[in-house]
Amino acid sequence: MENTTNDYSHIIGWGFDADPTNEPTHPMKKYTGDDHKRLNYERSVQQPLTVEILHSNERPNITAVFGTSTPPSGLSGSIRRYAFKHSENEYLHWLPLLLADRVNVVEGIVDDLKRGHIPNIFAEKGWKAKWKHNPKGLALKVATGVALTALVFFRPKKSKAKKA
């Protein structure tokens, strides 16, 4: 079935029912037996490492090529480095990455301000399109926001009045 170098002649019936066409991943996969060569294939030359790349500890090396978008930085970068100490099997890999993503949002706003750019969050959220195509939805959203904000501000005053 495949190019195994192992000798199984001592096992009676070994491979008797092997059927190369019984391939559950067909037609997605064109079975060649290369799986049994594992990682011993000819790799492309290594892309020079010009930025910090975090790599899964479930592989021995960095891939021959990789993306260089947004290297880890700041607090979110530290959280990401921690996450990559754990395998993809662990919640300690994925949950810190989600946390880092949220921290990164705050860092993004700070970076914008540092560069003298005040982010137009309403434009980034596409509210112009919402106003054009769903004005009622936008009005409801704004009203809900105002109501919740008012609730937050009025609550403490009530409790103070009770104490008095």
């Binding site: 997605m28 492309s44 030359v45 790349i53 975090l54 978008s69 993809e88 994925w94």
Partner: protein
């Protein structure tokens, strides 16, 4: 150059970024002429995929013109118009050699469970994507395919993901002539999966969704039966009834992590992020298929866990088949289908938006406004 810039969940903008450079001898730089917003981009946009970093450019569905090539590139030349598959694939590893281009082992250092995808978080390799004027395209001799001269570029851009994924969804279903196929989701992938199910000889194609305008669209585009699950008390029970109390032969999950329809799944998957998105569609697919049936999954989920009735998979003897589409493997067949008129991908495009308005485009697609099915972004340099 102008590029989409992710700023956080539900926040994106068009920004100026440095031009990409050749970083490897097998790289090419492509000037983008069209790029799409994919339904799976919404999982990133909604903050559901771990390691989605602020500042990244999304976009894994794009075509363009080759502007520069690395020293080892032989099959492309400057000026070629190319389809760029969403998978980054080396062509040499054991997986690529077996045509599993979506599972390449030499393009994504960050994760072994996912191949590399342009503009799809660092979990999928950390590559900036094609919702930009220019993109770095690694392994340029492997994935990119020259667009045939006769082909409309609106068809070509949909060959980068949505058509191959819809086709592979049907292909993985192992559809036999006369089979009843249920497709969950009437987004672009579900629409193409329904259309392609007929190519494999399906006898009946049923599409389930909760957005009426999309159901109306797929009913006409893919000539199938459609039902709105909001009108049903129990969608699985309904589907059993209309399939002779037997279940479908094949069920296709074309929704993934953003599924609606089940409060528990929505709260735990989309609001609290206690699971890798809402698995409602997959849950319904497993429970709606016949015993011994096949469930084909192309809906995208995050990398952690999901609540699905795995006990029913065992007890019903189901086969679950899933993968990211192997675009390069499928392109020759799909190009032939388009040339012969069997597929008309551009028929699903409803919006063409300048890249400068990317924030509005995302909002319209995400909120399903203005009868949006498929959005194409046009960069300012597209007409160069």
């Amino acid at each position: 150059m102008l590029a989409m810039n992710y700023r956080g969940p539900r926040r994106v903008r068009a920004d100026h970024k440095p031009l990409p450079e050749i970083l490897h001898p097998e790289d090419a730089i492509v000037r983008v002429t069209r790029s799409c917003i994919c339904g799976s981009d919404l999982h990133l946009y909604h903050g559901l995929v771990p390691d989605t970093r602020v500042g990244m450019t999304f976009g894994h569905e794009f075509i363009g013109v080759v502007e520069d090539i690395g020293s080892s590139v032989q099959k492309l030349k400057v000026g070629d118009n190319v389809i760029v598959p969403f998978n980054v694939a080396c062509g040499k590893c054991a997986f690529c050699k077996q045509e599993l281009y979506g599972n390449c082992h030499e393009s994504n250092p960050q994760a072994t469970a996912v191949g590399a995808i342009f503009g799809y978080s660092h979990t999928a390799g950390g590559y900036d994507g094609g919702q930009a004027e220019y993109v770095r395209v690694p392994y340029a001799d492997v994935g990119p395919t020259v667009i045939p001269e006769w082909m409309d570029h609106d068809d070509a851009v949909l060959l980068t993901d949505v058509v191959p994924t819809g086709y592979q969804a049907a292909e993985m279903g192992g559809i036999k002539t006369g089979d009843t196929v249920i497709v969950f989701g009437a987004g672009p992938i579900g629409i193409l999966a329904a259309k392609c199910a007929w190519l494999f000889g399906a006898g009946r194609v049923i599409v389930i969704d909760h957005v009426d305008y999309r159901l109306e669209f797929v009913k006409k585009y893919a000539q199938c039966e459609v039902y709105n699950f909001k009108e049903m008390e129990d969608p699985v029970l309904f589907l059993k009834k209309i399939t002779d109390w037997y279940g479908a032969d094949v069920c296709i999950d074309a929704v993934g992590a953003d599924a609606s329809g089940d409060a528990l799944q929505t709260i735990t998957g989309k609001k609290l992020l206690l699971q890798a998105g809402s698995a409602t569609a997959l849950h319904w697919a497993i429970n709606s298929v016949k015993k011994g049936g096949i469930v084909s999954v192309v809906g995208v989920y995050g990398p952690t866990d999901n609540l699905v009735p795995i006990g029913n998979v065992l007890n019903k003897g189901l086969t679950i088949r899933a993968n990211q589409a192997s675009v390069k493997r499928l392109l020759p067949r799909l190009i032939d289908h388009i040339q012969a008129g069997r597929l008309n991908p551009k028929g699903i495009i409803t919006h063409k938006v300048p890249l400068e308005e990317v924030a509005d485009a995302y909002h319209i697609f995400s909120s399903k406004l203005d009868n949006c099915i498929k959005t194409v972004l046009i960069p300012p340099s597209a007409k160069k």
